[in-house]
Symmetry: C2
Subunit: 281 residues, 2 copies
């Protein structure tokens, strides 16, 4: 496995790969890898000849009061995990290389990027879209895999790629969960024991919503109310939002149907967790 | 010369050209072509194997009170001129193909896109950057030629390309002028005879500024004052802005030097004209 630390070198390497006719798969990450990321790397491996994984804690997608400073870093551990997962190249650039002096360009996805998490984290998705657009130019992948755990992010990036006619296929990898249902996230480590004990209510409430839908209930307001009630029964939980949207357009829905994404953000103490579930046909 | 009317067909054709190893030059236009555009096409021809010219009156770069509706269209005439100028492909898509239902992505260049024309035409450069980013993905050129006449636009696009690591070289073609110095523009046709008679003052005032600089005056405020006085001596002229900026960063300068761009926007009646001049070494 190669480790590449500069934009220049990554561009040269990516172009050499493409001119060989290799199918290049790409998994952008912020490091601090867990089984969720590794499942995306393995999925990319199934679909391509060479998998590039970027590790870059992107400062522009953190708000001023968010956890950029305490975001965990352990490149050596991440590299070992990626080697096992079959990555061909790890691209771990410095922030000064991605954002040199004078950097000024922002990619914004209207509507989809302004609601749900976007309403509470202004600029977050601009940071995500801009860095992903740039990473796509550097790495020139045929396909890129993102986790359904960040369902809004995936929908926004699919929109960006379609809108700008970028030559990359976006693939969503399924959410990986702990045995008790909690979606894997680097931020789970911030939870106290008490908060950690309560956090599985997020997926449990989404599963409850699915069972209501499966038994014929399609009134979004009713189902979302049931989700909220379950979550609010936990003393450390504070709901930021719970919504029902189309999983691709992110338009709000009032009647649940196949392709509806139930999506939520909930604080446990100071730690903000997100999760979602897409209803089937 | 080929005429291509759909994004899909242009993408396929561009990828075939690139896989042949052809160097592709690109000149994006809004049609209504004049010698200024044609000089860019010929310049692209000198530097590449195949020149693609797009003709697309991009609605998103016009403000609500601007001249989108009266912007001139004559595809047949434009096609004949481009054939003579040596273009290989004319790409003339429909707006509904570039902006399908649900389109949501905007590329914004901070600072450089927010001053000068950007301060008076909110959203204009977002429209330009977004459509150019998309056209670059569709046409995949090795190089693209833009007129120095739109000096701020060229600097913004150079910034965007550098920031996002796009694989295209931006080249600025010199401004083509009428014998009396007026920069060629589709909008010159809107001028009344009286306004047309006064409009050459724009370039005359910029040339006067250059002669002041050449004789040792480097105080930007003084030189800009002299430019303003010359222009305001014309009864139909109304200055929107006159500035001295670095031609690449667009940062304001107080001391003129090589690479300073003197840049202005002036109304004659309802018609807004722009011009600029870059000081030499």
């Amino acid at each position: 496995m190669e480790i590449i630390r500069t934009v220049e070198e990554m561009k040269a390497r990516a172009r050499a790969l493409r001119s060989d006719g290799s199918v290049v798969g790409f998994v952008p990450t912020m490091g601090s890898l867990h089984e969720g990321h590794l499942s995306l790397v393995r999925m990319a491996g199934e679909l391509s000849d060479s998998v590039v994984v970027s590790i870059f804690v992107n400062p522009t997608q953190f708000g001023p009061n968010e956890d950029l400073d305490r975001y965990p870093h352990d490149l050596e551990r991440d590299v070992a995990l990626l080697e096992d997962a079959g990555a061909a190249i790890v691209f771990a650039p410095e922030a000064s290389d991605i954002y040199p002096r004078g950097y000024a360009t922002v990619v914004h996805v209207q509507r989809l990027g302004e609601k749900l998490c976007g309403a509470f984290r202004p600029g977050h998705f601009d940071g995500v879209c801009s860095v992903v657009a740039k990473l796509f130019e550097i790495v020139r992948p045929n396909l890129a895999v993102f986790g359904q755990k960040d369902g809004q992010q995936a929908a926004i990036l699919e929109r960006m790629v379609a809108d700008l006619e970028m030559d990359v296929r976006i693939i969503r990898g399924p959410t990986v969960r702990e045995p008790d249902g909690l979606a894997l996230s680097s931020r789970n480590n911030y939870l106290s024991d008490e908060e950690r004990a309560e956090a599985p209510v997020l997926y449990a409430s989404l599963e409850h919503a699915r069972s209501l839908y499966d038994s014929g209930e399609t009134d979004a307001a009713k189902v979302l109310g049931a989700v909220r009630a379950m979550i609010e029964s936990k003393p450390h939980a504070r709901v930021q939002y719970i919504s029902a949207v189309d999983w691709k357009s992110l338009d709000d829905v009032t009647e649940l149907r196949a392709g509806t994404m139930l999506v939520l953000a909930v604080f446990f103490g100071k730690t903000r967790l997100i999760d979602n579930l897409v209803l089937g046909g």
